[in-house]
């Protein structure tokens, strides 16, 4: 059963790596425009939960609902298409393509969706301006500071106007000042576009930017507002 009005939800997720369980009946939901922080200690299953929710990996059992779709029943190609069009991603180290310029990195998801280069780069430019890194649009990732690189990664996640943004420790490699700036830009931009944000972090300082916090421990999820779901 889908929690009412939720954009993305998961029920009874189980996932194990060999004999080690990563998720053990985890439940999750997020509403449009909502920022949910997923917290927990190292190895608790936070990233696995994010990967299951985003359709990057298939859980061993359980369902992940996104609109009319059950992600666990979609083919790899269908999940990839969904990730290209509806989801955005920010990772700890940005993971920008080192050969491409900042502008080209941001335009990449649009181009993968079939957009023409000029149009993709026009839209990318807008996001670079919005995230205050337009000045470095022609530089490659190796020439950027950590904060700039992460803002480029945020712009890349937002450029397709996704409905859900998955951010896995997005400020883990940044100092607190840069981290806060990136989080502010990310959450503001998400709220402006009514995108939901799933924010995986182990820092309560980061979780403070969320509307709701859940904690993953031993593969189970605990909602800090509602108690154990």
């Amino acid at each position: 059963m889908t929690p009412e009005g939720s954009l993305l939800s998961a029920e009874a997720l189980h996932k194990a790596y060999g004999a080690t369980p990563a998720l053990d009946g985890a439940e999750f939901s997020v509403h449009p425009g909502e920022v949910v922080a997923v917290m927990g200690p190292s190895g608790s299953g936070k990233s696995t939960l994010l990967h299951c929710l985003a359709g990057i990996i298939r859980p061993d059992s359980g369902t992940v609902r996104y609109g009319p779709h059950d992600l666990t029943r979609l083919s790899d190609a269908q999940r990839s298409a969904l990730r290209r069009s509806d989801f955005g991603f920010v990772f700890q180290f940005g993971q920008l393509v080192p050969e491409l310029t900042a502008l080209e990195n941001v335009a990449l998801p649009l181009r993968l969706n079939g957009a023409k280069r000029k149009e993709a780069e026009r839209q990318a430019r807008e996001w670079l301006e919005r995230l205050e890194v337009d000045a470095v649009h022609g530089q490659r990732p190796g020439e950027l500071s950590g904060g700039q690189g992460q803002r480029i990664a945020v712009a890349r996640a937002l450029v397709t106007r996704p409905r859900v943004i998955f951010a896995d420790e997005p400020t883990g490699a940044l100092d607190s000042l840069n981290g806060e700036r990136v989080l502010t830009l990310l959450t503001d931009a998400a709220r402006d576009t009514s995108a939901a944000v799933v924010l995986v972090t182990h820092e309560s300082r980061v979780a403070a930017y969320s509307d709701r916090e859940i904690v993953v421990r031993d593969g189970k999820v605990k909602d800090m507002l509602a108690g154990l779901i």
Binding site: S42, G43, S47, H51, A54, I56, I57, A77, S80, A81, L82, R83, R84, S85, F87, G88, F89, F91, Q92, F93, Q95, V97, P98, E99, L100, E104, L108, P109, R111, L112, R117, R140, R156, A157, D168, E169
Partner: protein, 788 residues
């Protein structure tokens, strides 16, 4: 506080660090073992090639040595018949295109000399044969040859009496050997200087070695990159526990040394195993025993020392651009701006060395050979130097395109080094292969053209010393009666001189040379238009404007140019001699042995051939190609007439098979080289993918299609390979054309082969891409996103 201990250095420290590196290589896990195995494979191939190259001098020396030992060439004076002498004559023949060396002996006494490879001479009517000839004679294919060699096989010639295991040769003792056949000798093994290797052979050896070694070196360089990340982590960990930078470099060198030493051993095994396959290979008519393929001890020792040293040196050079710090590797190599000027200097210098020779007739001197070899090598190496600049220049100008193209182009723009290094090997190999192939094709076409006229003409000539006209006539009759023979003609000819002799010198004077032919009226009518003819007539032709007139006296023993001149043997042209007009040779006689413009024609009764000095029977036979084995039947008849008759024909082009085998060898070598380079490219590509696995997982996370990244890998391989092949084609064709011009041969390009090599290059691209896809897809899995 403890004092800081000074770091020791010296051979002991070097040995300790190298040993530690070798231990890491031996116990470095799967990646380490793969790296070690591939390095060893590359070094093994390189060592095998080097050992093979180092064997060429001893190989040719052994080959020529056996040739010298079993002949008696360069004998100045014939010994008198004695107990220890024998008459020795050549009876070479050709059987279905295969050359057969035949030697006839007739001992003068009880203790004749014996050539190597046999214990004693065969008895009358018997022969000793090489194993290959024995096999041929015993096979159904050798039926006609058995008729030609009417001797009983009494034994097999040992290896020391053969040039190679495939040689077809025999030593026979005919029941009767005519007195003037061959010459008398008292021992075998007269010293003579073997001719130096011909320029094309030297070029072939050098260019083959260069073309083979370059890809091998590239492969070694590439294999050293495998597992780089883990190695760098290990070196950083060593720094953390107190190792200094030099120590880490020595340890890294030790890792390379381990693979190199394994490769050295593997190369030796490969070489020793590979040379066993030398027996069936005949290259340029040279077929050798496996034991001949042995490098000199000095060369072998140099290879054993230099190859591992080179591996250490390569590792040290590769580490110049990085500093191993306790927390990781710092790459401190500045971005290089590739300059074109010095890169052009190498090929330009090569061209300068070669160009002055073009346009002037080629002379086969040591200096010219060296100049050609160095020029060719500089041109080939120049290609490698030009390639990185070309890739940078071309790739730097590429813009736009779909995402896969953009990803590939940008990666090359940022770092074209690894791909270019790998492709550099392709470029040299392909350019070298094309150039050598063109050289061979051009030479082959030249021979084919030369043989084309005579080869089409079903005609064979024979010549032999003969001073008896009735015997000559019997020979003509036997030849005419042979199945498939359509016509046979012949005369006994000789040289005469004008009298009085010009001066006392013994020198040959062509202006006073008179050529004469003795034959029956029927035979003379084939040469000239005779008014009438009967035995006893003589004719003057004025064919060469010698101004001979009836009644003039000619010298039948003219000075031949060697030794003291013989006493004059005057012969007066009868006053009854008439004038005859020499006929133009029949149109189909164009080609060899058609110089029938004799000054004097005589019938045997007028001038007995026994009076002539060095009389030579010249026979020309036409045959019908439609008759099965007509040529072999004809050769059998000739052998029955006189086994020492020398055949004079251009029917079998021996060069065609020689050059074809070389060309096939080059083509196979190119394919193997390209595959080796393909293997290097796969290593390089997979290693790059491995280093980018987290990025690949990220790209997969936001929905990048597999096909997008697969195409990106394809383009990333295809762009440098295409540029390398383009450059190699240009350079190879130019070099080949230059080489052919230098040796005065027509420039011929074997386009199918060029297309074939290019096609294989394209195949390598697909091969590399196809094999890179499974690791690519594996690395696109979300595992790369896991940080815990």
């Amino acid at each position: 506080m403890n004092a800081i201990r000074r770091v020791r250095s010296g051979p002991a420290v070097w040995a300790r660090d190298l040993a530690m590196g070798m231990r890491f290589a031996a116990g470095g896990g799967r990646e380490g073992w793969i790296r070690t195995a591939l390095t060893a494979l590359g070094v093994a191939l390189g060592v095998a090639v080097l050992l093979l190259g180092a064997s060429v001098p001893s190989l040719t020396s052994a080959w020529h040595g056996r040739e010298k030992a079993r002949e008696n060439l360069g004998q100045r004076h014939e010994p008198r018949p004695a107990d220890h002498t024998l008459r020795y004559a050549s009876a070479d023949t050709v059987y279905r295109g295969a050359q057969i060396r035949g030697r006839l002996v007739r001992p003068d006494g009880a203790h004749p000399p014996v050539p190597p490879g046999i214990r004693r001479l065969p008895g009358p009517g018997r022969m000793l044969v090489s194993p290959a000839l024995k096999e041929l004679l015993e096979s159904p294919e050798g039926k006609l040859l058995r008729d030609r060699l009417p001797y009983r096989v009494a034994g097999v010639i040992g290896d020391e009496g053969l040039l190679g295991p495939q040689e077809l040769t025999y030593l026979a003792r005919p029941s009767a050997l005519r007195e003037n056949a061959g010459y008398r000798i008292d021992h075998f093994g007269k010293a003579w200087d073997s001719p130096p290797m011909r320029t094309p052979v030297v070029l072939l050896v050098i260019m083959t070695c260069v073309a083979l070694m370059m890809p091998v070196m590239v492969f070694i360089g590439t294999s050293l990159r495998i597992g780089n990340e883990r190695r760098e982590q290990r070196l950083a960990a060593l720094r953390l526990v107190g190792a200094d930078v030099r120590t880490t470099r020595r340890i890294a060198s030790g890792e390379a040394l381990f693979g190199s030493l394994l490769g050295l051993a593997g190369g030796a095994v490969l070489f020793l195993g590979g040379r066993q396959f030398a027996s069936p290979i005949t290259l340029w008519d040279v077929n050798v025993f496996p034991s001949d393929v042995a490098p000199g001890p000095l060369a072998a020792a140099a290879i054993a020392v230099l190859v591992p040293a080179a591996a250490v040196l390569v590792t040290l050079i590769a580490q110049r651009g990085i500093t191993v710090e306790p927390l990781g590797i710092v790459r401190n190599r500045p971005v290089l701006r590739r300059r074109v000027l010095w890169r052009l200097a190498l090929p330009a210098l090569g061209a300068v060395l070669m160009l002055p020779a073009a346009g002037v007739p080629w002379t086969d001197t040591g200096l010219n050979t060296l100049r050609l070899a160095v020029g060719s090598m500089l041109l080939l190496f120049g290609v490698t130097a030009l390639l990185p600049w070309l890739v940078d220049a071309v790739v730097g100008r590429l813009r736009g395109g779909p995402v896969p193209w953009q990803l590939a182009v940008r990666r090359l723009q940022l770092s074209s080094g690894p791909a270019t290094r790998a492709v550099g090997g392709i470029t040299v190999a392909v350019a070298g292969a094309i150039a050598v192939h063109m050289l061979m094709t051009g030479m082959q076409a030249g021979y084919a053209q030369a043989y084309a006229r005579s080869g089409k003409l079903p005609q064979v000539g024979y010549w032999s010393g003969e001073d008896d006209w009735p015997r000559a006539q019997r020979a003509l009759g036997a030849l005419r009666a042979t199945p498939g023979v359509t016509a046979a003609r012949g005369v006994i000819d000789a040289s005469a001189g004008r009298l009085p002799r010009h001066d006392a010198s013994s020198g040959y004077d062509p202006s006073r040379h008179v050529s004469l032919a003795v034959g029956s009226c029927a035979e003379l009518r084939r040469l000239a238009q005779l008014p009438s003819c009967r035995d006893g007539d003589v004719f003057v032709t004025h064919a060469r404007g010698k101004g001979l007139a009836p009644g003039a006296t000619v010298d039948l023993a003219p000075p031949a140019g060697m030794g003291p001149p013989p006493p004059p043997s005057p012969w007066k042209i009868p006053g009854t001699a008439r004038t005859a007009r020499v006929l133009a040779p029949p149109a189909q006689d164009a080609g060899p042995f058609v110089d029938t413009a004799y000054d004097l024609l005589a019938t045997p009764a007028a001038l007995p051939p026994s009076r002539l000095q060095n009389p030579l029977l010249e026979l020309r036979i036409d045959f019908d190609r439609g008759t099965p084995d007509a040529l072999e039947h004809l050769r059998n008849t000739a052998a029955r007439i006189d086994p020492t008759l020398s055949e004079y024909s251009h029917l079998d082009n021996p060069h065609d098979q020689q050059l074809s085998s070389v060309r096939s060898g080059i083509f196979i070598g190119s394919v193997i080289t390209l595959l080796l380079i393909g293997a290097g490219l796969i290593i390089s590509t997979v290693e790059q993918l491995h280093e980018r696995r987290r990025l690949l997982s990220t790209l997969d996370a936001f929905g990048t299609r597999r096909t997008t990244l697969s195409w990106s890998v394809l383009w990333g391989t295809a762009i440098p390979v295409a540029l390398g092949l383009g450059l190699a084609l240009g350079c190879g064709l130019a070099l080949g054309a230059l080489l052919l011009t230098l040796i005065d041969s027509a420039v011929v390009v074997d386009w199918p082969v060029v297309a074939g090599i290019t096609g294989i290059g394209a195949g390598v691209i697909l091969f590399v891409t196809a094999l890179s896809l499974p690791p690519l897809w594996r690395m696109m899995r979300p595992d790369g996103l896991r940080t815990e």
